[in-house]
């Protein structure tokens, strides 16, 4: 793909088909950690890191192990094991060599194993038949889109804490409604990548 194509590809992944607001991946932690800015940024960093690495490794597993051995139907189980092992490994390595970052990420690192966005992106890379470079770009762009949504959301929610609100709506409910309007705003980007 040319540079222009890549730019479109990236913009599409971040804004138009935002992995969280348009594709619904990664919602559970989304509502949990977006209450404050610092937790949101912590989770974002962890997601970017894990999603890119997981995207690359699962791609290699698919095309160098699953396909040659004709066991593509084991994709789900193979991928989740790769992700779980990757997160575990990253935790161990980070605790030893980058302790400050490790402490900053805190509990978010292990939590990423069950983040459907990571597994989701890994599967999408294969379904869309991306080559290795495209996988790398897509994983990174998706992670950035996720972080963008997360941080925007946290910013909005922090302000919401200062408003009076009916008890029924407090917490997750209003969070969801706000997410809905954020999703609406992002869907306005649909015309950005014209044509298809």
């Amino acid at each position: 793909m040319s540079f222009g194509d890549y730019m479109l590809f990236i913009v599409s992944a971040i804004l138009v088909n935002n992995i969280l607001l348009a594709k619904f991946l990664g919602n559970c932690p989304f509502l949990g950690v977006s209450k404050r800015m610092d937790t949101a940024t912590g989770m974002s960093m962890a997601v970017i890191f894990v999603m890119v690495m997981a995207g690359m490794i699962t791609w290699l597993v698919q095309y160098y192990i699953l396909v040659p051995l004709n066991i593509e139907y084991l994709q789900t189980i193979a991928f989740i094991l790769v992700i779980a092992a990757l997160v575990q490994l990253v935790e161990i390595v980070m605790a030893k060599s980058l302790p400050a970052l490790y402490r900053a990420l805190g509990i978010f690192l292990p939590l990423i194993t069950t983040n459907c966005a990571v597994l989701g992106v890994a599967i999408i890379n294969i379904n869309e038949e991306f080559d290795f470079v495209d996988t790398l770009v897509f994983s990174l762009a998706s992670a950035l889109g996720y972080s963008l949504a997360l941080i925007l959301f946290a910013g909005i929610r922090e302000r919401f804490m200062l408003i009076k609100m009916p008890k029924a709506f407090q917490g997750t409910s209003i969070g969801l409604v706000v997410a809905g309007f954020l999703a609406l705003a992002f869907s306005g980007f649909a015309g950005l990548v014209g044509g298809h």
Binding site: Y73, L74, I77, G195, H196
Partner: protein
């Protein structure tokens, strides 16, 4: 600790392989039925059988890597005898390959119809190859020799797409000539 985990993985692997084996045939049938059947139905008519169920898989040579290429042929039968077949063919259009399901009457060698199975042509221009005006113009055309763009109702402003479909049909003609006997088993 590791023993337990290994045992669980082994049992899991074994059971999954088992389920995979059991479901292989139903899955293939389902896939073909829901993904290909609409196209098959669009190009064949008047048959008494289930073309998907009666499908034939014919080896048609090898690809660049030396792996055998298989062609799935869907037969249309009346009184147990195949009178028409449908199979897929592909050729490059304006933007990527165009997949065409071709239906041919075995005896008269006339096209019973075509249906566009996949394409990435330009919306509003090349993508109009899926319109009935275009595909219907292929019906009844003889495959005794290669089709030309002038034999059908070409799309103005979409010459590459049109040519792509015609090429795909002509490729199908070559396939038919080469493997006709295997197709009417």
């Amino acid at each position: 600790m590791l023993v337990v985990l290994t045992v669980i993985c082994a049992v899991s692997g074994f059971s999954l392989a088992l389920v995979h084996d059991v479901t292989r045939e139903p899955i293939e049938y389902s896939r073909l039925k829901f993904v290909k059947e609409p196209a098959v139905k669009a190009v064949l008519s008047g048959y008494q059988n289930d073309p998907i169920k009666d499908r034939l898989v014919i080896p048609v040579g090898t690809d660049k890597k030396g792996k055998p290429v298989k062609l799935i042929v869907f037969p249309a039968k009346k009184d147990g005898k195949t009178f028409a077949v449908a199979f897929e063919s592909a050729a490059g259009g304006y933007h990527g390959d165009i997949g065409v399901m071709v239906g041919v009457d075995i005896n008269s060698k006339k096209l019973s119809g075509i249906s566009i199975v996949s394409h990435t042509e330009t919306p509003g221009l090349g993508a109009r190859i899926i319109e009935p005006n275009f595909t219907d113009s292929f019906k009844g055309k003889s495959l005794d020799k290669d089709l030309g763009v002038s034999d059908i109702s070409a799309l103005s402003g979409a010459t590459f797409s049109t040519k792509g479909v015609v090429t795909a049909v002509n490729k199908a003609r070559a396939t038919l000539d080469k493997y006709r006997d295997k197709m009417v088993q």
